[in-house]
Symmetry: C3
Subunit: 202 residues, 3 copies
């Protein structure tokens, strides 16, 4: 998994999150600009909070590509909303792949700037999940993250695997990436497939 492939998958993740934001906004009957704003917040929210916490430049501040990708994704979603049904599986796959990649990217950026494993896993989870939380706060519903989905669980498990492989094996970085993403994607898929969820505590 080269840097280039990683960049392409990150963009795919951005597209997926932008589309998931757009769908949520359309479902809440927002106007086109509202849709655009929710798409943007969903796609860059996690990475923005990560960069603010790390006190490094926010990743989209010098980068027009992210912008244009989000803009196109939101517009396409508005145009093709009618074919949402056929689209749903593809979208879900993108969204899940994006979750995995965003988590790994978050972990590695955190390590690069000197975070220890526990902080790195937290920042990875924030990178993967926060955009969706923001989306749900903005359209005023209880964040999906907190309603017995396995989002955070998948990210945290992936993060733990990442560091286990790092310390306990001599696998190269690309394979560690790959396995981490696969575990996150796998947990999410299995959770949806088998309707896994934790029981509420109360």
């Amino acid at each position: 998994m080269t840097d280039q492939l990683s960049y392409i998958i990150e963009l795919a993740g951005t597209v997926a999150f932008a589309m998931s934001g757009s769908f949520a906004a359309i479902q809440h009957r927002l106007d086109p600009f509202g849709v655009l704003i929710i798409a943007f917040a969903t796609a860059v929210g996690g990475g923005t909070v990560r960069d603010l916490l790390l006190d490094v430049p926010v990743f989209w501040m010098k980068d027009n590509t992210t912008f244009i990708v989000i803009l196109c994704a939101a517009i396409l979603t508005m145009i093709f909303k009618s074919i949402e049904k056929n689209f749903k599986v593809t979208l879900f796959m993108f969204d899940t792949l994006g979750l995995g990649m965003f988590t790994v990217i978050g972990i590695e950026k955190a390590i690069y700037f000197g975070a220890n494993p526990m902080i790195a896993i937290t920042l990875g989870t924030i990178t993967g999940c926060f955009g969706g939380v923001l989306r749900d706060i903005l359209v005023n519903r209880i964040p999906l993250l907190l309603r017995r989905e396995i989002y955070a669980t998948a990210c945290i498990s992936g993060g733990v695997l990442y560091f286990l492989l790092q310390y306990a094996t001599s696998l190269n970085q690309s394979l560690i990436h790959l396995f981490t993403v696969l575990l996150i994607v796998g947990i999410r898929l299995a959770a949806v497939k088998f309707s896994w969820h934790f029981k509420p505590v109360g």
Copy 2:
């Protein structure tokens, strides 16, 4: 439009946003300290997020004037809430003027710190709009921004005009300011006057 005039209008915008926050808080039956907090969040929210994203010192951290202005605006609003009706048009004018000025201030600060046009327009829009979003989240309603008002649309249009004038004409900076603010104010006024709104997408 000199620096001094710009500063005065910025303070007027701060007053207007503080008052709009106070009215929303009063309407939701918060106590005086709740009103104060919402007033503060509404008035400085946009600029704060802009400065965090730019990674520059947050504008109100060294500046007592902003504080005192917001405090006075919130107290006056609580005292004069009974005359809200007569007040409404003035308030709306201030709020709209503030939106325009805040957007231009956000754009210029972003350019000053090296942002490209697309990022600058985004940061201008955030500066103008985020305070109101925060206000609405805090009192737990769907952000006004997202409910078919023309807030974001006006800011984005103003931002585009700003850069068109910058690149395509030789107008001096003050006139570019003025036209940008006028366009934003004009769109907002027209939108309210003629009940313009986009149709929801869904």
Copy 3:
């Protein structure tokens, strides 16, 4: 009140806020990971916003202790939720002591980084209160802070006392700490005991 004592009480405050977040999450029937995330957000939210506004490294980024303390507090709360009733008074005391200590810590950190009194009181109040606001936004109810509790009032009063003692007396720092915390705790206790609250403005 030595540095060490201050550190211990800060950890106790962290525990209390983590537990208050956990209780709120359990009450809203979130799953264990949801509970963990709300506990984390409640305990570190205020200090995180303070550090972002001050543009200094976020306090928990290099510190595993905070993490482990929050994790343990959340798990213990989930296990012992059945004995919540007997626990309530202890929790309330911790929460209130934490509010006082967090406010003082916020004020001092702000002063240390050059803030003037008005800004310092604001940052102290944010440090004490923001975690609770975040908790309430995440579980989608109107922030407790804004519903006629005396949280913010207590913090602001404590902050004013802090600077009065600083400028008008020759008390040493430890006693100023102590009196500030006592005033905040006292106002909170009295407010609950005698059902004090401000009337809504409207």
